[in-house]
């Protein structure tokens, strides 16, 4: 079974702090994704990565950055946390596309509160 783990289930940070969210997958997947989930808005893609040291902006990258130094690890960074970044953050991974390989596998999520 694919396993995607996230460093924290719950996190409380103060406005202006730098926040690191870590994600690790153990299935040698090429693709990794960061989403935020908010009630009524569904999942919105923040950043994704197709390979080590590669990153692509998603739909809402402002206020975030990412790092992928190793294939299994994808970090989301909030450079200066703000209250509007309070949300559930979900990491996912998938294989490179091929027949039937596009489904994404999700971690348990990190619920971040910025006060």
């Amino acid at each position: 079974d694919v396993k995607v783990t996230q460093s924290s289930r719950y996190l409380v940070k103060r406005t202006g702090e730098k926040v690191f969210l870590e994600c690790v997958q153990d299935m040698d997947h090429e693709n990794m994704f960061w989403y935020r989930q908010d009630p009524g808005l569904g999942l919105r893609l923040i950043y994704f990565s197709y390979d080590v040291k590669m990153k692509e902006k998603g739909d809402i990258p402002e206020g975030y950055s990412v790092s992928r130094e190793k294939k299994e690890r994808f970090s989301l960074i909030l450079e200066s946390a703000s209250t509007n970044q309070t949300s559930m953050y979900l990491c996912a991974s998938s294989l490179k596309p091929g027949p039937g390989s596009r489904e994404q596998y999700f971690g348990p999520g990190t619920r971040l509160t910025v006060t």
Binding site: V4, G42, L43, A92, G100, R102, F106, P108
Partner: protein, 114 residues
């Protein structure tokens, strides 16, 4: 541009009755279609997918989904609902033209009433 619509924010079904959660999509080219389920305070779990072939796709926990190309729909179904099916369900679509991204719908909350 790809898009997914889940027209119902919430669906209520009595236990034992059949359930349907609706999804329509828009995509250029052939679609890859997915359903995911999310239980409280958990990540999303993959339920099933349609890539090609039979229009009726069977997945986990007794769920199935029917692909209808003319109606651009991919409704999730189960013949007999369980209380434990109560959760948030997401439909998602990916274009078959090289993009690895998946576009998610906003989700439908399913309540199974005992």
């Amino acid at each position: 541009a790809q898009s997914v619509a889940q027209p119902e924010d919430q669906v209520n079904v009595a236990e034992g009755n059949p359930l349907t959660v609706k999804c329509t999509y828009s995509v250029s080219g052939n679609p890859y279609l997915f359903w995911y389920v999310q239980y409280p305070n958990r990540g999303l779990q993959f339920l099933l997918k349609y890539i090609t072939g039979d229009n009726l796709v069977k997945g986990s926990y007794g769920f199935e989904a029917e692909f209808n190309k003319s109606q651009t729909s991919f409704h999730l179904k189960k013949p007999s609902a369980l209380v434990s099916d109560s959760a948030l369900y997401f439909c998602a679509v990916s274009s078959g033209e090289g993009d690895d991204k998946i576009i998610f719908g906003k989700g439908t909350r399913l309540h199974i009433l005992p």
